[in-house]
C-alpha cells in the first residue's frame, strides 16, 4: 500500500471513530435539556394555583309569585304598640287629666306609667311560676282588662306579592393547604331587587308570618334575602387521613345547610360526607366534626360523624340576674351506605339551652335577642335516597325521610313572648312545662330525562301538630317548608342548557320552574316558642278562641317560582 493510501485510510478511520463521540455528546446535551425542562415544568406546576386552589361558585336570579290566606287574629305586639301610642298621646295632650268633677285626676299619667311597669315586669318574668303569680295579681288583671280596649284585631286577608325578584351570588374556594389539610370557603350575597334589607320576606311593616322569617340572623345569613354584602356562609378547615386512617376532624362555619335530599330540587351535587339531613337541620352553624369512614367492602361509602355547633354565644356571665346560657347543638350521624343506588342516613341531634329569640335587628319586634333559655330538643331521623340509572331514557331519583322531635322544656318562659315556653302556652296563658313529641315525613322523586337534560320532580312533606325542626335557612321564601305543621306539595321542572362546561367540570346553566302549596293545620310552623293552635280554632271574637297571636297565622300559601342559575 502506498504511503498516500495509508494516510487516506488512517484519516477515514479517525473520522469514523470521532463521529459517534460527537453524536453521543449531542444526546447528552439533549438529555440535560429535557431534564432541565422537566425540572422547570415541575417547579411551575408546584407553584401553579390550579394545583392547590379550586375556585367556583354560582349566580342565581329568582322570581317568586306569592299568594297566601290568613286567619283573623288579635295582634299581640300590635296591641301593646297601640296601647302605648294612645296612652302616650293622651298623656301629652293632658298630662294631669282627665278632669273629673272639676279636678285633675292624673289618670293619663297613671295609665301610661302602669303600662310601662306592666311591660317591664312582664319582660323580666322568666319562669312559669313567676308568670302565674304575675298574671294572678289584681293589678295585672286590671291592666289586661284595660288592654282589651286597645286590642288590634286583624281580619282575614290575602297577602300577595306579584313579583319578588332576588339575586344570589356565591363564591366557593377550596384550598389544599398542606398534605391532608384543606380549607373550604363559601361567600354569599343574597339580596332582593330594589332593597338592601329583608323586609320583602318578613312582611315588612306588618306582623311577620313565620318565626324563621322575622328577620335574618346568624343561622340564616346568606340563605334569606337581605343585602348585597358578601357574607361568610362557610369557612372550615379539615384535617383528613389522620394517623393514616380514614379519620377526619373539621372545624369552622360548617356545611350544615342544603343537606340531602334537598340537592335534588336545588340541582346540586350530592353533599358527600358533608351536610346533615335537610329535614332535621338547615342552619348555618359554627361548629366542628369528627368523622370516620371505615373501609368496608360490603358497605361502600359508609361513614359516621359526631357534629357539634354553637347556635348562640352568650358572652361573659353576669354578676347578678338572669344569666343567658349558650345554645349548642350536638349530633351523631351514621350513614351505613352511600352509593348512587342507595344512600341511607340515621341521625340524632340534641339542641341544648334553646333561646327564645335570636339576635336580629330592625324586626317587627324591634331589635331582638335571647332573653331566656327554654330547654332542650331531641331530634331523630332516618331516611334514604336512590338514583337508578337507565330507567327508560333517563335516571330516576327518589327518597323518603322521617323525623321526630321531642321537646324538654324547663321552668322558663319567655316574657317577651307573653310567657310562652318551649312549645308550651299561649300569649298570657302560660302552660306547665311538658314534653311534646312531633313527627314529620318527607318524600319525593325526580326523573332526569337525559336526551334533553330535563329534570322533573315532585315532593311532599307533612308535619304533625308538635313537629319542630331546626331548618330556618332552607331555600324557601314563605318559610322552611320542612318545618310546616301541615302539608306541603311541590313540583318543579329543571331545564339544563346543553352547553359545554368551561370553568370547571361542575359548571352548568339551567332554568328552574316550580310551584309550592302550603296547607297549614296549626300555628307556629318553624317556631318552638309557644304551643301550636289549630288554625281552624282561632277565633279572636271569643275569649277562648286563641285569638292573641304574635305572628300572622296563615291558612295556606303558594309560591310560583322561576330561576335562572349558573354554576361555575
Amino acid at each position: 500500500m502506498s504511503t498516500r493510501a495509508r494516510r487516506l485510510l488512517s484519516g477515514a478511520l479517525l473520522l469514523a471513530l470521532a463521529m459517534p463521540a460527537a453524536a453521543h455528546a449531542d444526546d447528552q446535551a439533549l438529555q440535560l435539556k429535557v431534564e432541565d425542562l422537566t425540572r422547570k415544568v415541575n417547579k411551575i406546576e408546584e407553584k401553579s394555583l390550579g394545583r392547590w386552589l379550586e375556585i367556583g361558585g354560582d349566580y342565581r336570579f329568582r322570581y317568586d309569585y306569592l299568594r297566601g290566606e290568613t286567619a283573623p287574629f288579635v295582634d299581640a305586639n300590635g296591641t301593646f304598640t297601640n296601647a302605648g301610642n294612645k296612652l302616650q298621646a293622651a298623656f301629652f295632650a293632658d298630662p294631669t287629666g282627665p278632669v273629673q268633677n272639676g279636678a285633675a285626676t292624673g289618670m293619663n299619667a297613671a295609665m301610661l306609667s302602669g303600662l310601662m311597669t306592666f311591660a317591664n315586669t312582664m319582660k323580666g318574668t322568666t319562669t312559669y311560676s313567676g308568670a302565674k303569680n304575675f298574671l294572678g295579681a289584681a293589678s295585672t288583671q286590671q291592666m289586661l282588662g284595660g288592654l282589651n280596649n286597645y286590642a288590634v284585631m286583624v281580619p282575614a286577608y290575602k297577602p300577595k306579592n306579584d313579583s319578588l325578584y332576588t339575586n344570589r351570588f356565591g363564591l366557593d374556594l377550596h384550598a389544599k393547604a398542606t398534605e391532608n389539610v384543606t380549607v373550604n370557603v363559601r361567600l354569599v350575597a343574597y339580596k332582593t331587587f330594589g332593597a338592601q334589607d329583608d323586609s320583602a320576606v318578613t312582611n315588612g311593616g306588618g306582623t311577620p308570618f313565620f318565626a324563621d322569617r322575622v328577620g335574618v340572623f346568624d343561622g340564616t345569613l346568606g340563605h334569606v334575602p337581605s343585602n348585597s354584602l358578601l357574607d361568610v356562609d362557610r369557612a372550615y378547615a379539615t384535617w383528613s387521613n389522620i394517623a393514616d386512617q380514614p379519620l377526619w376532624i373539621s372545624v369552622g362555619r360548617r356545611p350544615s345547610t342544603n343537606g340531602a335530599p334537598s340537592n335534588l330540587r336545588l340541582n346540586n351535587e350530592r353533599p358527600g360526607n358533608g351536610g346533615t339531613p335537610a329535614l332535621l337541620v338547615d342552619y348555618a352553624f359554627d361548629g366542628m366534626t369528627v368523622g370516620y369512614a371505615p373501609d368496608i367492602e360490603a358497605l361502600p361509602g359508609a361513614y359516621a360523624k359526631v357534629c357539634y355547633g354553637r347556635g348562640f354565644e352568650s358572652g361573659f356571665d353576669k354578676p347578678a340576674g338572669n344569666n343567658i346560657t349558650d345554645t349548642d347543638m350536638l349530633g351523631i350521624a351514621v350513614i351505613p351506605i352511600d352509593t348512587d343506588p342507595l344512600r341511607v342516613w340515621l341521625q340524632w341531634n340534641r339542641g341544648m339551652n334553646i333561646f327564645d329569640f335570636p339576635v336580629m335587628s330592625n324586626t317587627a319586634f324591634g331589635n331582638t335577642a335571647p332573653s331566656v333559655d327554654l330547654g332542650s330538643i331531641d331530634w331523630y331521623g332516618a331516611g334514604f335516597m336512590s338514583t337508578l340509572k337507565n330507567i327508560g331514557p333517563g335516571s330516576l331519583n327518589f327518597f323518603a325521610d322521617g323525623g321526630m322531635s321531642v321537646t324538654h322544656p324547663n321552668d322558663h318562659v319567655s316574657g317577651q313572648a307573653g310567657f310562652e315556653g318551649l312549645m308550651t302556652g299561649e300569649f298570657f296563658q302560660p302552660e306547665a312545662p311538658t314534653d311534646k313529641t312531633g313527627w314529620a315525613a318527607y318524600a319525593g322523586a325526580r326523573y332526569d330525562y337525559t336526551p334533553t337534560r330535563t329534570k322533573l320532580g315532585v315532593e311532599y312533606n307533612h308535619g304533625s301538630k308538635n313537629w319542630i325542626t331546626f331548618a330556618p335557612a332552607a331555600d324557601d321564601i314563605w318559610t322552611s317548608k320542612l318545618g310546616t305543621r301541615g302539608d306541603v306539595y311541590e313540583a318543579y321542572l329543571i331545564q339544563e342548557l346543553n352547553l359545554k362546561p368551561i370553568s370547571s367540570r361542575l359548571s352548568k346553566a339551567f332554568f328552574r320552574l316550580g310551584y309550592q302549596y302550603y296547607n297549614f293545620d296549626y300555628t307556629g310552623s318553624n317556631d318552638w316558642v309557644g304551643a301550636p293552635v289549630k288554625i281552624a280554632d282561632i277565633n279572636p271574637s271569643s275569649p277562648t278562641g286563641h285569638g292573641m297571636q304574635m305572628l300572622t297565622p296563615l291558612k295556606n300559601a303558594q309560591d310560583l317560582y322561576f330561576t335562572f342559575e349558573v354554576k361555575f
Binding site: E179, T182, Y236, T238, W239, S240, N241, D244, P246, W248, S250, P255, E269, G272, N273, G274, G275, T289, G291, Y292, A293, P294, D295, I296, E297, A298, L299, P300, G301, A302, Y303, I332, V334, P336, T339, D340, P341, L346, W348, D378, Y380, K389, M404, V406, H408, D435, R505
Partner: protein, 107 residues
C-alpha cells in the same frame, strides 16, 4: 326521651358491631392513599386504569377498576385526575385490582 335515645344507641351499637365483625383485610390486600395522575377508561366502559401517586412513597401505582359504581363516577367526572383517593387493592401478578376506590373522606 330516654327510650328513644336508648333505641338509637342500641341501633348505633348494632351497626358498629356489624362493622367490627366485618371480614378482616385479606393478607394480599394493600391500602394506600394517593393522587390520581392518570385515569384511562376502557373503550367499552367496563374497566379503567388509574395511576395513583402514593402520597407516602411518591411511587406510581397502577390500579384496575372494574366495579360499576366507581366507573360511573369516572364517567360523569365525579372522580377525576388530581383527586386524592383512598384505595384498597388486591395485589395480583401483573395487575392491581381495586376493591375500594373512593375519594378521601372529610368535610
Amino acid at each position: 326521651m330516654k327510650n328513644h335515645f336508648a333505641t338509637f344507641l342500641f341501633c348505633a351499637a348494632l351497626l358498629l358491631s356489624a362493622l367490627a365483625f366485618a371480614p378482616a383485610v385479606h393478607a394480599e390486600d394493600v391500602k394506600m392513599v394517593g393522587t390520581i395522575s392518570r385515569l384511562t377508561l376502557a373503550a367499552d366502559g367496563k374497566s379503567a386504569t388509574a395511576v395513583l401517586k402514593d402520597s407516602k412513597s411518591g411511587e406510581d401505582v397502577t390500579i384496575t377498576v372494574t366495579d360499576d359504581l366507581t366507573l360511573d363516577k369516572f364517567k360523569d367526572k365525579r372522580i377525576v385526575e388530581g383527586d386524592e383517593i383512598r384505595c384498597k387493592y388486591d395485589k395480583e401478578p401483573g395487575k392491581n385490582s381495586a376493591k375500594i376506590f373512593k375519594k378521601t373522606a372529610g368535610c
